[in-house]
Amino acid sequence: MEDHVSGLSDSEVVVELNRLFAEEVEAAIRYLHLANAVRGVEQLIAGPKLREGFHETIRHAEIIARKIRELGAVPSLQLSLSLPATRLGAKEAFETALTFEEAALEAYQDLLKRVAGNVALEEFIRSQVAIESEHVAELKQLLAD
């Protein structure tokens, strides 16, 4: 079905949502890996924050999957991920998290421009932009000092 308001057809919206779905699932896996790659005393500091990131990004992925289902489609996922068995410091882990959180934020911001006019979707993407912006700001703050 064509959504003439935003200019994107439902199938095009599904393609875009699947991209976001992949971003969120991959980010969740990365958070899980980072949470376990930080060892020793630094694990006490960074572990809970990184696990919180894991739970939150998985929740985002679930929300996107629900949006895809609402459009009558089934989420599709293709990931290419190789995470090395390397110990990381808390700073390095947060820097990595900041890198993929910024990428996710940009993905939401780009889609927001493309769905202008589709009120429901626009509202959803806008709320995700707000949440992702908070994550990015929080990580930047953690890395500031």
Binding site: E23, E26, L79, S80, A107
Partner: protein, 154 residues
């Protein structure tokens, strides 16, 4: 340094080489390359692209401007040009000289292109130049090679 350590220390991994070549290709075709364009071209997430690009940026191979447009630095461009040349040379050796199927030659060249040293590549190019020449020795070599049929079982 031991060879396997040198292999592991190579910043230009197979994945990194594809990221660099994607940037080169996008800039040539579109005039710009963003993280999202690289992600679409390689069919991976933006997060993955951003993470792979981090060490390449730190090494000064990839530059990003205030509009978040990516481009190769002169060093990055030199590296990509070298990789492309090596791919072409390896592909020619495998398909034209060794008789490997074209598609397989392309796959194997893709796996080796970023690992072969410049010195080895130069020798390969010299060898191809020799074969391309009209020297009687080159013609004779190709004739002998073409009629030589030693299977692995022998």
């Amino acid at each position: 340094m031991q060879t396997w350590k040198e292999f592991d220390a190579n910043i230009v991994t197979h994945s990194a080489a594809h990221h660099l070549m994607a940037i080169d290709d996008l800039v040539r075709r579109l005039g710009y390359a963003r993280v999202s364009d690289v992600a679409r071209q390689l069919n991976i997430t933006r997060g993955s692209v951003s993470i792979t690009l981090q060490p390449l940026k730190k090494a000064g191979l990839v530059l990003q401007d205030e509009n978040r447009h990516l481009r190769l630095s002169p060093a990055g461009q030199k590296l990509v040009d070298g990789i492309k040349t090596k791919r072409h040379v390896i592909q020619r050796l495998l398909s034209e000289l060794f008789g490997v199927d074209g598609q397989q030659a392309e796959i194997d060249a893709c796996k080796l292109e970023h690992l072969v040293s410049n010195e080895t590549a130069r020798r390969m190019i010299s060898f191809l130049a020799f074969l391309d020449s009209d020297r009687p020795a080159a013609t004779e070599f190709l004739r002998q090679w073409g009629s030589f049929d030693l299977s692995c079982s022998q």
